[in-house]
Symmetry: C2
Subunit: 137 residues, 2 copies
């Protein structure tokens, strides 16, 4: 994992914390865009769009290139990879949850296969029911 300076991760996550900027990144995933093209889908001024683009640029999420009078923007995947890598550290936590859920589902399926009577409530046999929680034995 590329260990970034805390300040860099701060600015990456800060830039991602805005739906307009995330949409701009999504647009850029389809290819290069001019500043005007990036601003176009939003009901915001070009100045406001430019501020968003600057936030993305200073976080290293996009690169801007000036050709003639036009500013062209391009996705910079490295910064996204760093944020992704930071989050990947926690992957085991949600994986563990999914594993538990999968195990429960498997056990549920196994029980249903073993006792087909429990498949529909109509055929449910009352004999097989286990004592309810808190019931005295």
């Amino acid at each position: 994992m590329v260990e970034l300076q805390a300040a860099q991760l701060d600015s990456i996550f800060h830039a991602l914390g805005d739906a307009t900027r995330r949409q701009m990144l999504r647009d850029l995933s389809e290819g290069e865009r001019t500043v005007g093209e990036l601003a176009q889908p939003f009901a915001i001024s070009l100045a406001a769009a430019s501020k968003h683009i600057k936030a993305l640029e200073s976080a290293g999420l996009i690169r801007r290139e000036v050709r003639g009078r036009t500013h062209h923007c391009r996705l910079e995947p490295g910064a996204l990879a760093s944020a992704h890598a930071w989050l990947s550290f926690y992957q085991r936590f949600w994986s563990e949850r999914l594993d538990r859920l999968e195990r429960l589902l498997r056990e549920e399926t196994a029980r249903e296969t073993l006792s087909p009577k429990t498949l529909s409530p109509k055929t449910l046999s009352p004999k097989k029911q286990s004592p309810k929680k808190g019931e005295d034995r």
Copy 2:
């Protein structure tokens, strides 16, 4: 991928955009912590720490439980998984870059193998055994 409301992703990424809050999450990855324990490593007031914890909580990144007079915090992996999933969309971009880099390195290695002139003089010797030091012939 779990598609979250934009506002939820906003608050998740916003909460992650601060080194103190990221460190708190890292601490919570080792187990449950009280608010006091979470605040302890930082030179900040308990009120400031509490504000950070609230940001994490409202983003759904942690869960707080009150037992007696103590607030216990725990990692909530679902929100981290959502941010990770959002970023995974872009994985192909940095994968493509890594693939290109790998291909270049492979080509470089292939060239070096084909033209042994570029190898170091030590590995150029075709002899399998060099005479031992001090051995007379």
